[in-house]
Structure formats: structure tokens, C-alpha cells
Subunit: 193 residues, 2 copies
DNA sequence: TAGTGTTGCCAACACGCGTTGACCAACAAG
DNA sequence: CTTGTTGGTCAACGCGTGTTGGCAACACTA
């Protein structure tokens, strides 16, 4: 046996450093975006040499990819009661965003990097549109309804976590779920105007 | 007389170049954001030497400031009929965004630059909140209601013009005004839930 | 104790950036 | 024709970046 448990790669002494680097990278990417979050700054935060970042993660792009790997896991959401789907979705996204800053990083980078924008779009395509197709009145409108929901949720995230408007940060969780929940519910289920 | 009309600064031969530079700058900033829109690239687009950009605009930050100078002019909007304010506002922002790409540039930069974010916030503070105070039921809720409206409009702009989600770009002007107009109307005037 | 791989630091590379100043061509005024 | 102003190019600077390779210290195995 090489490690503490079977079939596991041996626990290395450098694992702690790896984790420190990753944490610092997440923080920097979320705060500054891709370009302004330099390898040197990340290394300084992690109290190691910049070359270590390269050794453990290959290059900057690969580090970013590892740092923002996340899945909203929308299919796991309960669809009952049908009148509560909007609120459920908004609450889910809200906690998702509060718990990990990776999403803020992804949005900051998506503003200028097409690859990150594509990553965000894939969530819409593979999770939100199918959901809209299942709960909406007309499957043909699923794409439109999902797009409206995405703009609702991302709009709040933009003003609250990226641009950090005080008026948006002042909103309580309850207020957000109440107001945006009703909006998303309407976008998903109401008949087209 | 020095120019073609009185009391005007003389028309200079370089005005055309100045305008070309500014147009190229707007396009690049909107497409790439602040960091990736290099002076060299802007100059190449304008078919002149990078040093000319400096001569005419001082430095990169000043060029950006000139390139994104814009005022949504919300106070000029008609508040009648009161049931149409939401639609009016959404329509106004929509044409504003379609007509000039400066707003896209401002959002791309605001994602990583606090100064640009502050510029956007000033619109909310000086124009949207006062408007919400006038048309809303309770002046104390004006800040909250304006924040919700801002997130609605900016959310659409984000998914449609910045991230360029196909599902969002596929929406017609009528669909946007219908769906988002009702949302904004509710955020502004409906009693708190 | 000798040997081998791992963990880390240091110095340097090549590159692209914003920015500067010297220099040249065209034109207008005397 | 001469002189001064304007519009423009060219080559270079200093800097910070991502990235690389060499080298010292350590930890573990035999």
C-alpha cells in the first residue's frame, strides 16, 4: 500500500500547496478577471514562487479551467409544486452564487472571453432550456422562455456580485426570491402576451 | 474668419483622422474590453501609427473616457400613460443599446474595472432611482425597485450583447418589450409581495 | 550512509504593452 | 524662396507578463 486508503493516488506532501494555489487563484479570478489576475499575484497570495503554479497546473488557462469547474445541476431540482418552480430556481441560483465565487469569476471572464461565455451558454442549452420545455405550455417557446429566465438571474448576479451596485447588494434573500421568483415563474409558465 | 462658420474652432485637416480613431476605438472596446483592445490594434484598424492615438487623445484611459461618453437621458421620458412606463423604459433602453455599441463596451469594461462600474451605477443613482421614486407607491422602496429594474435591463443586455447567447439574440424587439415591459412595470408600481 | 525522487526558489528568457521623442513631408504665410 | 506649422511615420524605451530550466534543500528507501 502506498497511501492511507486503497486505490487512491498517494497523498503527496505538495497537496496542501496545490490547494492553496487553487484557492488563491479562485479569489483572484473572481476579484480581477482573467487578464488582471496575474500568475505572480496568485503566487504571492499563496506565498510560493510563480514557477510552482506552472509546475502544478501547466499554464494559466489550465489553472483557470480547474478554478471555475462547476455545475449548477438544475435537473436535480424538484418540479413540485408547479407554482413554485420560479421561486425554487431563483433560490437555487442565489445559494449557488453565494457559496462559491467561481461563478463571479466566470462572469467577469465571460465579459471578454468567448470561451467562458460559451461555458455559461452551455448551462442554458443543456439544463435551462430542457427544464423550460418540461414545465412550459409550448415546447416551441422553450428557448425563448429559458433565455428570459437566464437574463433575469444573470442580471441580478451582474448588478449584485460583479458590478456591486449598493442598491442591489442591499436586497435581502427574501426580497430577491419573492420578486424574481414571480418573474421567472411568469417567464416559464404564463401564456405568451 | 478662420473656418466655415463663425465662433467655431477652425476645421482641421486632422478631424477626419480623429474621428476614424474614435470609431475604431469604440468598436475595439466594445468587442474586446479594455485590456484586450490595444492601442496598436486600434491604430491598425484606423490605418495610422499608434503614436497618433497618443497625440490626439493623450493616453489610453482618456481615449476610453471619450469613447464611452453617453447619457441615457431617462428624465426626458414620458411618464404617461402610467400603465405603460415599463414598456416605455424597456423600449428606450433597447434602442439605446442597438444604436451605439458604447454601452456594450462600458459593460465589458465594468466587469473588471471599478471606475466603469461606478459610471454605470451613477445612471442608476441619478436617473433610475429618482424615476422609481416618482412613479412608485412608496418612496422608501425606490432604491429597491430601481435595483430590480436595473438588473432586468442589464441582464438582457448581458446575455444579448455581451455574452451573445443565441437564444437571447433570437428574441424580437416586440417580445422583449412585451415580456420585460411587464416585469419592469411590476417592479416599479406593484405593491410589495 | 548512500541514493533517489520531490518540493521549492532564483534568474532569466521572449514577448507585447503603453508611451516617448526624433525625424520627415506637405502645406500656408511672408 | 524661406519659414513656421501641421499631419504623420519610425524606432526605441521601460515595464510587466507568461513561461522555462537550473540548482539547492529536504524526505524517504535501501
Amino acid at each position: 500500500m502506498t497511501g492511507t486508503t486503497e486505490h487512491q493516488p498517494a497523498a503527496r506532501r505538495s497537496d496542501a500547496t496545490r490547494a492553496t494555489i487553487l484557492a488563491a487563484a479562485r479569489k483572484r479570478f473572481a476579484a480581477d478577471g482573467y487578464e488582471k489576475a496575474t500568475i505572480r499575484a496568485i503566487a504571492r497570495d499563496a506565498n510560493i514562487d510563480p514557477s510552482m503554479v506552472m509546475r502544478y497546473y501547466g499554464n494559466k488557462a489550465a489553472l483557470f479551467a480547474v478554478a471555475v469547474a462547476i455545475d449548477p445541476d438544475l435537473p436535480g431540482l424538484p418540479l413540485e409544486p408547479p407554482g413554485e418552480i420560479g421561486r425554487t430556481l431563483v433560490r437555487h441560483f442565489l445559494t449557488l452564487w453565494e457559496e462559491n465565487g467561481e461563478l463571479t469569476a466566470l462572469m467577469r471572464v465571460g465579459a471578454t472571453d468567448p470561451a467562458a461565455a460559451e461555458r455559461m451558454q452551455s448551462v442554458l442549452r443543456e439544463q435551462l432550456i430542457p427544464l423550460a420545455r418540461r414545465v412550459g405550455p409550448d415546447p416551441e417557446q422553450a428557448q425563448m422562455r429559458a433565455a428570459l429566465c437566464a437574463s433575469t438571474v444573470l442580471g441580478l448576479a451582474l448588478t449584485r456580485y460583479v458590478l456591486r451596485f449598493p442598491a442591489s447588494m442591499a436586497l435581502s434573500h427574501e426580497e430577491i426570491v419573492d420578486w424574481l421568483g414571480a418573474t421567472v415563474q411568469r417567464y416559464l409558465t404564463a401564456p405568451a402576451p
